[in-house]
Symmetry: C2
Subunit: 216 residues, 2 copies
């Protein structure tokens, strides 16, 4: 006899509502100012881990800076295609461009020249677009490290750096460096090894619409 499949929730509105109810019930959100609480909730929703709320570092004005930048038409600059794929274009308030330079011609050669990764070399192509931009790093620690180096060399400042690189080599360190000395940029960073494109994209989506259904 065929065993019937267990029932499941199929209604998108109820799925969202139940998801965010769970996040509110289980996550420690008290310390976040308005806006940042929504960003934290979206990040949690993207990864299924309520405890990442406890590891989220941010500058006091991060949420407003990102929101204002997007409203003013700033581009969103991502370190990889997966982050770009996770950004809900329809939410962006000004048809904002979403930029990824990782696969541009010359990036591999530039990486060899500077003795760094392709992800780091790709950052150098952000030069003309970085001022006032929202930067979303969801993969490569070296992209975040190299961006910070370029800011130290005098690059113009992005409005906000969303630091979510992931992994075992350099991710925790790059995010600690960002949080310790954000170089005059607002920032959000998930401390430690965890991170990823889905969280970075969720943070961008939160700047555009705090929660699903909460349009600006």
């Amino acid at each position: 006899m065929k065993r019937p499949m267990r029932p499941y929730e199929r209604d998108p509105a109820r799925i969202y509502a139940q998801s965010f109810e769970t996040v509110r019930r289980e996550a420690r959100l008290e310390r976040f100012p308005p806006g940042m609480d929504r960003l934290a909730m979206r990040v949690i929703h993207a990864c299924g881990m309520v405890e990442v709320a406890d590891r989220l570092a941010f500058s006091p004005g991060a949420y407003e800076a990102g929101r204002a930048a997007l409203a003013a038409g700033a581009p969103v600059i991502c370190d990889c295609e997966m982050v770009a794929a996770g950004i809900i274009r329809g939410l962006l308030p000004a048809g904002n461009e979403v930029l990824v330079t990782l696969n541009e011609p010359g990036v591999a050669e530039r990486a060899a020249e500077i003795g760094n990764t392709r992800s780091a070399a790709a950052v150098e192509l952000w030069r003309e677009r970085i001022e006032g931009a929202v930067v979303a790093i969801g993969n490569a620690p070296t992209a975040l490290f190299h961006l910070l180096e370029l800011l130290d060399e005098g690059w113009p400042r992005p409005a906000l750096i969303l630091g979510f690189p992931v992994g075992f080599v350099g991710a925790a360190e790059a995010k600690a460096e960002l949080a310790a000395n954000p170089r005059g940029c607002d920032f959000v960073a998930l401390r430690g090894r965890r991170g990823g494109s889905a969280m970075a994209a969720a943070a961008v989506n939160a700047l555009a619409a705090p929660l699903p259904g909460e349009m600006q």
Copy 2:
């Protein structure tokens, strides 16, 4: 005085080597057969969490089934664009097609018709391509649930289902359903709430090349 930035590893080969050394040192990999150990390592590498090894369920032949399917030219069918964006095309052994139907015309209408999400409705468009395919679900529990329903209705079998939907509503349940009754398909599933596109894509990449540098 400007504080110098902390040093960081810039060499891609050393970054990979150190990353996978850490995974080998910290993760419990003993229970995995050859091939699956590599898949587990890639999944861990994608999320920065060694402990996900302990929650990875799989059928005994899963790795070989996926590898053989890709070698035979099977398509990789993904539930969202983020999974597709994470698949390293150059690794795929037969120029395999990577398919996402979520944004096809008619999906929203079909979702309303069947009273389910867009992600679930998009699965219905897999019908002609599903036989022998590698399915990679990295986002929507309802996509996995609906696929299992369609298999119960008699759909042809994919070669392998990579079950990595994420979140608080239905993700743990859909993966438990897959693991309890895989319906004649090989499968890999990360039990619990955690999952995501990066892990699903990493699992596909592991079928194509077990670890970076380990080409088939």
